[in-house]
Amino acid sequence: MTQTILTITDNRLLAPGVFRMRLAGLTPEEEIRPGQFVQLQIPGHFLRRPISVCDAEYGVLTLIYKAVGEGTRILAGMRPGETLDVLAGLGNGYDLSRAGAAPVLVGGGVGIPPLYYLAKKLLRAGVTPRVLLGFNRSDEIFYEDEFAALGAAVTVVTLDGNAGEKGFVTEHLPADLTCFYACGPLPMLKALCRATDVPGQLSLEERMGCGFGACMGCSIQTAEGPKRVCKEGPVFEREVLGW
């Protein structure tokens, strides 16, 4: 974990309410693993905002976020050239060593971004993941092309069926998966664990204070006792959660 000042180079709308921000200035020591997150200090706000890392290579940090509250709305209004105080490299990240031959990445809505960086790293390790991207409506779709451009096999699933497959992501899991990596709304994560028995790693969300293990603000009960989502998580093996 490092505290650093990064410069916004890009900040644009990807889908209704969903923005992608790029920040330059990460140094090589600040190696970031897929599934980790950053904490952004937003002007005029006291607590930092945790945002999952969508990509972090060549010194450029890519974040995709939804403008829902006051803080993220201010973020959406920031322009290239402005700077942000960033705590980078937070949390454990996904464990790539347990991918097996046929991992499936399952993302729902704004849970999708960390899977992009994960797909990139898996492909670089010689594993081609299949990717399931779930959205409520077709106009919410983002990053389908970006995943495809990496060389991953992408399936988009929408609840309204106006694009890709119709229904829930859990209805479109391939039969031969060796494990899954997931990030998305809690009901999706739980449905996923009910739908398959293969090993799985799930990224959780929780309201955080510090984001680096000091305040115990984001503790959850697990099969192995209390865990901090920001420190022992945000990624948990399904057995640890008992799901």
Binding site: L47, C210, F212, C218, S219
Partner: protein, 299 residues
């Protein structure tokens, strides 16, 4: 060269900066960022006799100039603190540390105090009679002079280490509580713990915190803390540690001018992990700016 050292109940601190309990764990998360031996000391996570998970989440809510927390004294219990946490703490911190103790009965405080009294690395016991986030204990001990004195006396009977009683600001007359603790034998006082606050989620129309209310901390509470430290330090003869919203070396000086002999820094650690280091490194420069040679001249 300015002199930043201060005396806290007979133990010399290199400087008056003490990370507050509950914002610094057992130190080792922060030791990844800087050598925490630069600190005066620190107060580790509040300890109870039994392990506690604390309150359900959400435990955190943002506020203007601060935050609410309702962690509810999550800790592994005094035995595991001693067997697991203190050995790790001693590897990264080599000065006397402050042990923070909480409870739901006088016996709870006595149990933890008696156990931690035996630990050489513990320099002071900080008795938290002011946690607003637990029910049937915590703060209720700190809102009445009688019970505050009772806890103080009971803890003093089982330890030879200096006992610092941590007071709540959620009272009409903090001076009466402070005096009661002094008369019961407290060696020092620390104030203020958090102010009871609340936020509501406009979407659900329900409290944001699972615990409904939480403790407000951060710069928002600084003027209230300063006033109480002023009142208490003018009313008692024992040392007062000032805390509540301190974020900068200037805040440290202001709190010491109000009468504090040392300060605790809490919420600032959560926003920037190097907050205490940055304050300590800035302190000599700011002291020079205001013509202060030694912090002890502010007494």
């Amino acid at each position: 060269m300015v002199n930043t050292s201060v005396d806290l109940c007979g133990i010399r601190l290199d400087n008056p900066v003490i990370p507050a309990s509950g914002t610094f764990g057992y130190g080792y998360e922060f030791a990844e960022h800087y050598d925490i031996n630069i600190l005066g000391t620190f107060s580790f996570k509040g300890t109870t006799p039994e392990p506690r998970f604390g309150n359900p989440t959400p435990r955190i809510a943002e506020c203007p100039g601060g935050m609410l927390n309702a962690v509810g004294l999550q800790n592994p219990g005094v035995e595991r603190v001693i067997s697991e946490e203190l050995p790790k703490l001693r590897r990264v911190f080599h000065k006397p540390v402050m042990a923070n103790i909480s409870g739901f009965s006088v016996e709870d405080y006595v149990t933890s105090a008696a156990r931690l009294d035996k630990e050489d690395c513990v320099g002071w016991l900080e008795i938290n009679i002011s946690c607003p986030n637990v029910h049937g204990g915590g703060m209720s001990f700190g809102t009445d002079p009688g019970t505050a004195a009772e806890v103080t006396r009971a803890v003093k009977a089982v330890t030879r280490k200096p006992v610092i009683v941590k007071l709540t600001p959620n009272v009409t007359d903090i001076v009466s509580i402070a005096r009661a603790c002094e008369e019961a034998g407290a060696d020092g006082l620390s104030l203020i713990n958090t102010l009871l606050g609340m936020r509501i989620d406009l979407k659900t129309r329900r409290p944001l915190l699972a615990n409904t209310t939480g403790g407000l901390s951060g710069p928002a509470v600084f003027p209230i803390a300063l006033r109480m430290v002023w009142q208490v330090s003018h009313a008692v003869g024992i040392p007062v540690i000032g805390l509540g919203g301190i974020c900068s070396a200037r805040d440290v000086l202001e709190m010491m001018m109000a009468g504090a002999v040392a300060v605790e820094v809490g919420t600032a650690n959560l926003i920037s992990p190097t907050a205490c280091r940055d304050i300590i490194l800035d302190l000599p420069r700011v002291m020079k700016e205001y013509g202060i040679e030694s912090l002890e001249e502010l007494k």
